[in-house]
């Protein structure tokens, strides 16, 4: 009888601890920046969500396309309507793994350069990517921050010939996630 209760308790604790090993946030920051001699285009999204599993190094983020705010409202409409087609493809996502996770000691506070390996999906197109990011470990929080270059043409986002001088095919994406521990 006693044994059974202990086992039950143990099971529950195990489940709880498994839960506690997942860190998540719903207010991640994603910025994209396109630079051409004619025009710079910038958009900021503060509604990205992300989960990091400390047990096995699995990592995912999701960026709602409609959450990107542009300085010019019309640009935002065109971004959704003509380029990313957010009605059909509402989210951009990444799902993957911290490379060499086993060798990473999460107990030691400080900055680490790590690489996220996995699948990025934008505009309905999936690609294998590697994202070098900085992992910051502190007592109260963990952070993942990084920058990557994304080619619009890789994700079937068409830039019309008339706009080639205004929109760079290569965009810089900055991501910042902060997880409370």
């Amino acid at each position: 009888m006693q044994t059974r209760y202990y086992l039950l308790l143990f099971t529950l604790l195990l489940c709880l601890s498994a839960q506690a090993q997942k860190l998540s946030t719903r207010s991640g920051y994603v910025r994209f920046f396109s630079e051409t001699p004619l025009e710079n285009i910038e958009a900021i999204n503060e509604q990205s969500s992300s989960i990091l599993n400390l047990e096995n190094g699995q990592f995912a983020f999701l960026v709602p396309i409609k959450g990107f705010v542009f300085e010019k409202a019309l640009m935002q409409e065109h971004f959704n309507e003509n380029y990313l087609e957010s009605g059909q493809f509402p989210n951009a996502t990444f799902k993957g793994q911290i490379r060499d996770f086993a060798a990473l000691d999460l107990e030691v506070e400080g900055k680490r350069e790590i690489v996220l390996v996995g699948t990025m999906e934008i505009h309905g197109v999936s690609r294998q990517v590697e994202i070098p990011v900085t992992l910051m470990i502190a007592a109260q929080e963990m952070r993942i921050e990084g920058e990557l270059m994304v080619k619009a043409s890789d994700y079937a986002v068409k830039i019309p010939a008339a706009k080639k001088d205004n929109i760079n095919n290569e965009l810089a994406l900055t991501v910042k996630y902060r997880y409370a521990r």
């Binding site: 086992l7 498994a18 995912a60 409202a73």
Partner: protein, 305 residues
């Protein structure tokens, strides 16, 4: 036996946890929005003469130039392709909120000055609280400053007319949108006692987007209780005609160009919808355009210093 079952459970529990451990699925299920507005039902705030359900975004100032050239059957080449007898309307409007747009306009026809308000009542949306169409109101007041040379006594109120439009719009597919627009046009004074001061019309409009930047638009505004007028040429009574327009929307960055052919050269709503004399069958067709340019006055929070 029971202990063994439990033990097996304990050993399997984390494994089960593994199998269901799809982080992305967790994020996706958490990201389904309660209500997500459908964007860009139309490219501009007008189809041709009718309003659309669109408003410029909050903090945006919009300047529009509306042009109606002379008719193809009115000495078209003598009038330099209709340019010499063109009608012009200018408007300037601003959206203090996402749901409200306020504007001022001037039209050459009868020296008309006007003020208008456009307001969102309901928005087509997806998600848990989905809604099938957008409902937008438009109310305008027009003052004709035209001089009268007949020495008859007149009141200032005689110079006013009003238009109210209720735009019921739906984006059916990313390319196809359509709308119904019950419209009320009221003139404080009509030329004759028997004329209806209030005219009801039912606007119909649709667009098909054939590239992301180009769309074809069609608009027809039949009157339900239209008036007649004495045609000075034939000397007979004729009914005011219903406005019909066919156009193309071209979008380039901050501009929307709308090029079209219409039988209604009045430019301002009261004259277009309730006092139009253009007969399509007689070739009373006019080339016209609406051009709008937007300026961001108040930047979104993310871009404020």
């Amino acid at each position: 036996m029971r202990v063994k079952t439990l033990l097996a459970g304990v050993l399997l529990a984390p494994g089960l946890g593994w199998a269901q451990d799809d982080l992305l699925a967790d994020l996706e299920s958490a990201s389904v929005p309660e209500q997500e507005y459908v964007l860009a039902t139309w490219k501009g705030t007008k189809v041709v003469n009718l309003q659309t359900n669109e408003l410029p975004a909050r903090g945006v100032l919009q300047y529009s130039i509306l042009h109606r050239f002379g008719a193809f059957n009115d000495d078209f080449f003598y009038n330099f392709l209709g340019l010499d007898n063109a009608q012009v309307r200018l408007t300037l409007d601003y959206s203090p909120y996402d749901w409200l747009n306020l504007g001022l306009g001037h039209t050459g026809v009868r020296k008309t000055y006007d003020g208008y308000a456009k307001y969102r009542l309901l928005r087509q949306s997806r998600g848990k609280n989905a809604f099938p169409f957008s409902l937008t109101g438009f109310s305008a007041l027009y003052y004709s400053a035209q001089r009268f040379n007949d020495d008859l006594p007149r009141n200032t109120s005689d110079r006013f007319s009003y238009v109210h439009e209720l735009v019921i719009a739906r984006k059916f597919t990313p390319r196809f949108s359509a709308q119904l627009v019950p419209t009320l046009i009221h003139f404080n004074v009509q030329p004759r006692r028997q004329d209806n001061n209030s005219v009801l019309a039912l606007g119909l409009a649709a667009r098909y987007k054939f590239t992301p930047q180009h769309a074809i638009t069609l608009e027809y505004v039949p009157q339900l209780n239209g008036n007649t007028y004495l045609d000075p040429v034939s000397g007979s009574q004729r009914s005011y005609t219903n406005a019909l327009s066919l156009g193309v929307d071209i979008e380039t960055g901050g501009h929307v160009f709308q090029l079209f052919i219409t039988n209604a050269p009045g430019v301002a709503e009261p004259y277009v919808f309730a006092q139009n004399t253009g007969e399509v069958g007689n070739g009373d067709l006019h080339f016209g355009f609406n051009i709008s340019r937007v300026f961001t006055i108040v930047k979104p929070r993310q871009f404020q210093e």
